[in-house]
């Protein structure tokens, strides 16, 4: 896919008079932030990295230099080892002898003023920043390979959740439970993970795990987000330690129905805001409109980096048009005054017929007898 993206980017460069495209990344891999270097190279470096793409070919510059051998196994681009990006960039720009308007940049905003100033000084001109254009042209949809990775990441997340069901019990801390789940994620081959896990008899939201000791009657919330070879997936789950009444099950079922509404709305050509409204409409009809807005709820899902976070948030203000091959998590997590915050969420890929879950299991609340 990296080569397909490069082909698209080269066509864009041709159309817009760009001779050199410089994609930069600072080495902090966030699952909510795009990584233009990964997008074009398929590789995640330990430190700062940069793709230099000319009309005639590309090159990936990797720091620290000792990581270059590993990275070379993960990309088709020529890999150059370096300890700092700027001297390499300076040399390349000096050799290229291009007017600044013919050089495009992406990822420069992640760097500090000093780096930006050094680039501007090299060019003798403010850099032409083309992040939006890069993601629009080359980063809007996932490749079949990336969708398979997302499927694998979702598989890992489901296995990790099974591990959670095996070990969650009163008396252990939130962070001990989180450690068991994370171990399963890593053992199964994830290269990274993002995880929230917390519990209470009445949750207001989910948070990072803390030292709270789990008790009988707790509602344990989990958001498990493994990355497999650079592609993230995310699942959201609710587990009860003990038993709950009918009202709890009714609210959870309502949440599951809201998710189905969202999935039905997520068809190619629809807007992300349509998906958001479809989820909220059902909940509003049942009298929870007040709890479908900040501060209770901000979004109903989001794109999954590292390559690209398109199509963005499942939110009212996102008018991104859905296309086949887009991947995001749809999570109509909801606060109900009767039960507290409940979670259900699945990663989906947009296919010809609409949103297809990447997970196997149907959404359901789980119970651990105690």
């Amino acid at each position: 896919m990296a080569s397909e993206r490069i082909r698209k980017l080269l066509a864009f460069m041709e159309d817009n008079g760009i001779e050199l495209f410089v994609a930069l990344h600072g080495g902090v891999h966030s699952f909510l932030e795009p990584n233009p270097v990964y997008l074009l190279s398929g590789a995640k470096a330990i430190g700062e990295s940069m793709v230099l793409l000319w009309r005639g070919g590309g090159e990936l510059v990797v720091t620290p230099g000792w990581d270059a051998e590993r990275i070379a196994r993960r990309t088709d681009l020529k890999v150059t080892a370096a300890n700092h990006l700027l001297p390499v960039l300076q040399k390349k720009l000096a050799g290229a002898r291009l007017v600044p308007e013919r050089i495009g940049f992406a990822g420069l905003g992640e760097f500090g003023r000093e780096f930006h100033g050094a680039v501007a000084a090299m060019l003798g001109h403010p850099p032409r920043e083309l992040d939006r254009e890069l993601y629009r042209v080359a980063g809007s949809v996932k490749s079949p390979e990336e969708i398979e990775r997302a499927r694998k990441a979702a598989w890992i997340a489901e296995r990790a959740y099974e591990r959670m069901l095996e070990c969650a019990r009163p008396g252990m801390t939130e962070y001990e439970l989180a450690a068991e789940v994370d171990r399963q994620v890593k053992k199964l081959g994830a290269d990274a993970n993002f995880q929230l896990m917390s519990a209470s008899q009445h949750n207001r939201a989910i948070r990072v795990p803390g030292p709270r000791v789990l008790e009988k009657g707790d509602v344990v919330l989990a958001e498990i987000s493994p990355s497999y070879e650079g592609q993230f997936a995310q699942i959201c789950r609710t587990v009860v330690l003990g038993e709950v009444g009918e009202a709890f099950l009714e609210k959870y079922e309502l949440q599951v129905r809201a998710m189905r509404k969202g999935m039905e709305a997520a068809v190619p050509g629809a807007r992300m805001s349509d998906v958001f409204r479809a989820v909220n409409r059902l909940l509003e009809e049942h009298g929870y409109g007040e709890y479908c807005r900040p501060p209770w709820i901000r979004v109903r899902g989001h794109g999954l980096g590292v390559g690209s976070v398109l199509p963005g948030n499942v939110s009212e203000d996102n008018d991104t048009v859905l296309e086949k091959g887009m991947v995001f998590v749809l999570h109509p997590n909801q606060y109900f005054p009767e039960t507290g915050y409940l979670m259900c969420g699945e990663p989906v890929v947009i296919g010809d017929g609409g949103a297809e879950p990447l997970t196997r299991r149907k959404p359901a609340v789980d119970f651990i007898p105690c």
Binding site: H29, P64, V208, E229
Partner: protein, 384 residues
Amino acid sequence: MNPVVLYGCAAWDQARLPRDEFEERIRLLRERMAAAGLYGLILYGDSCRYAKLCYVTNYIPKLGWAVAWIPSSGDPVLLAGVLGTRELAEVRMMTWLEDVRMAAAADLGVKLGELAAAPAPGESSGDVRVSVGLCGSESMKRSLLESVLSGFPGGVTEADGLMDGLMRRKRPRELAVIRRACAILSSAMASLKGEYKRGGGALDAAAEAERTARALGAHDVRVMFSLDGGRTMQPYENESAASVRPGPFAVYLAVEYLGYWAEGMLTIGGENRAVNRRAAELLRRLSEDLRPGTKIGELVGEIEKAAEPFRMHPVLEGSWGCGIGLGLGETPALNPQSGRRAESGDIYTLRVGLSDVERNEHVLVSRMIRVGDGGNETLWEGRP
């Protein structure tokens, strides 16, 4: 590889780091601010570079950034760049500061400017103000820095040096937390060795080490391991490392507990090789000879000579260690160019990595020490 987002145990541990600890740190900081003629100080931190922010607030941003406003008198304010107001409850769980507010990059400068313009307790609005300091600007995204600067048309003073000296010598409670981080590191390494000796592959051993660290309360864990006998190191990539049992097995593990780091490198196997014995000897020399007053550059130069004919391992990137605490790479760095001296109370991670290129043999080992007038204390040492 820097982690995706921090997701380990997070809370303000009031037993280990009570409010009075931070009040004292602020008092000492204000003394330095007064000496430097600063009316207020802006402290920036993000999930990757949080040391100075955390030192004063105990807060480590999970995903994004935060800025603390420290006036010369009156209450400090924490401005957190969180996604929504709902996240503020989580921020408040991790800081002792009572005034916590949400901020966006676009209006950060305006908000800071307003805080700086507000009269301090006992001050009239007509009093003359001197300058405002800024710590952490080198780590800030350009747009964020420009937003901050827009709130101060008169400019700000770069003030990173103000905190470096303050943070170099660890306070007793900091030392206690670092010792706890080292204990977690020891347990994690023991888990790794146990898994490996039971026949587990490199991936299983690394995952077991990370599980142990997180189950003991680590907030962040960094793992790298070698699949080729220590020649190269790699982070988690995929399941292909599950069945690999490299010999010798070199690992790097760093754990962060309540903001403070402990790190270790270990090579399991090959203990009788010449390159391993030399590494052990150099590590012992570094540990013993890095005394109060030692010229760091001179000592490291001697160590480099003593390493010959072996080559320095590339993962060391030219440095034999550095200070460690709220950052994994605090000053001073242990390299031959250093013009600094070791001081009593310094805490270092000492890293020795050697390669016998002819034999394709490699070793990575490390130790953490606290430099003391009466001799150095070993805080962590890896034993294969």
